[in-house]
């Protein structure tokens, strides 16, 4: 093991968790969305540390755009998006805490009891990784890739169908 990756991994990991907690603790909805964004960005940074460069940068980029869009929807649909009223927007808190805690503990137990063995393998360079992914898309996973397209198509149609106001009068 080398110290650098471990430190960075821990740093970004803690950042990701901390921002993730902030998401549900802040009163301001925009803050909440931006906190989620930075949580995801930290996850992306962890990918970078884990030398999954393409995925890391992709995560960092996609989440910036998606969470910003999320921010506007938060502002549209949440009461008091500025968080000035300091209101409580949660329910079944105890149950949720318990569920979250149990999930966490169970996962941790599994992680720490399972014996992950072996030396850390080397991974190819980022350029080669991107190529491998490209070959994967065009080769073995071609159908997954095409079904992703169908998935996106379905989502686009579904979102349009439910969200777009019926056109009473067509504006130019």
């Amino acid at each position: 093991m080398s110290l650098g990756p471990v430190l960075f991994l821990a740093f970004f990991g803690i950042a990701a968790i901390w921002f993730g907690v902030v998401v549900f603790r802040t009163q301001s909805m925009v803050r909440s969305a931006i906190a989620l964004l930075f949580s995801q960005t930290s996850v992306g940074a962890m990918f970078l540390v884990m030398q999954a460069e393409f995925l890391g940068v992709l995560q960092i980029m996609m989440m910036a755009t998606e969470m910003s869009v999320m921010a506007i929807f938060m502002v549209m649909f949440m009461m008091d998006p500025g968080g000035m009223g300091k209101m409580d927007m949660t329910h079944q808190k105890r149950l949720s805490l318990r569920a979250g805690g149990i999930g966490l503990v169970a996962a941790l137990v599994v992680i720490w009891t399972a014996g992950w063995q072996g030396p850390v393998p080397e991974v190819p360079g980022a350029d080669e990784q991107a190529r491998m992914l490209g070959r994967e898309i065009l080769g073995r996973s071609m159908f997954i890739f095409e079904s992703a397209a169908l998935m996106i198509l379905t989502a686009m149609i579904a979102a349009t169908m439910v969200a777009v106001a019926p056109q009473e009068r067509d504006r130019p």
């Binding site: 991994l9 968790i17 993730g20 909440s32 989502a155």
Partner: protein, 103 residues
Amino acid sequence: MIPELMIALSVGAALFGVGLYGALSQTNLVMILMGVELVLASALVNTVAFWRYLHPDVTAAKMYVLIVMAVMALEMAVGFGIAVARFRARGSVEMEEARELKG
């Protein structure tokens, strides 16, 4: 014992816990989506960690990550679409009120 893997997996577990708490405790549809996003992020972390420290030769793992990312985006698109529709119909995206109005 691979410390990097342990750290990454623990982070994944923590994100999962936080996301689960959020998804269960929030009253608002949009906030619930945020919880789900966190849960999915934890899945991403775990997958990448397994790929990196156990099976770096399996490119399909990355394909899986891409698909999960797509799911995150699509879940948001559809979720917000539903939020818009529900808000238009009911004037609220609170889950409680949705239940309340059903009766």
